[in-house]
Symmetry: C2
Subunit: 149 residues, 2 copies
Amino acid sequence: MNQKYFDIAFQMAEKAFEIDEVPIGAVIVLNDQVIAKAYNHKEKDGCCTSHAEILAIQKASKKLDNWRLEDCDIYVTLDPCPMCASAIKQARIGHVFSALSNSDSDNTDIIVKIFQKDRVNPEVFFQSNLAVDKSKKILNSFFEKQRNS
Amino acid sequence: MNQKYFDIAFQMAEKAFEIDEVPIGAVIVLNDQVIAKAYNHKEKDGCCTSHAEILAIQKASKKLDNWRLEDCDIYVTLDPCPMCASAIKQARIGHVFSALSNSDSDNTDIIVKIFQKDRVNPEVFFQSNLAVDKSKKILNSFFEKQRNS
């Protein structure tokens, strides 16, 4: 885990904030190099699949010309939803470093189960709450802005 | 549930079969009209997110210019994986009609949990094993072809 990749993930979240998307960013790292970064684009794309993690996986897969993102790590500014957790696992990403746990404990239960080894994919190593204050700050600012708009 | 939409989903699965992708198809229906159909394209796209259901959701969202696919149903030739199940739920699709249960019971446990009502999204109504023989036939043919190639 390297804090500098969280800094980049939060820069991505800021970009989402600026365009009125829920501010979540994701960065994929391979051999200490950023190979993909993205931010939530759901409203702008009008599609629920345009989460930061999905967009980052698509960019990384294109860059490596391979759906297997083995030896890659992903940094996210909030725990992934089940869609993104399962995409991370099926991409064979090794480690997920998350800034903040989702306040919905059902989400946590499901993604922890998804990250376990299954018949096809290896276990995904998952750590959360690694940059809590920064993540809460940008999320709270966003929802406050939404309430006041 | 209308069997004719399974026929279209299987036509999609056949297209996947022809290009050596695991033969899975998906069809999204709104007001008794097909608004999107797609088939698994993971190897060709080199990306784990190119499952039939994700591609169909992206097409349907584009068509409706809305990430909310409320009042839509999806027909799939095999139970969705957690990634696709969560995308279906977040798209607010109402009903999932699946031809065949996944033989991995862990997958079933996870997607059943995903389909439950949560704090943001309503429950997804899910029925499986609605066209078992047809789904098994195309999947078995595919894996037999793979073994002999």
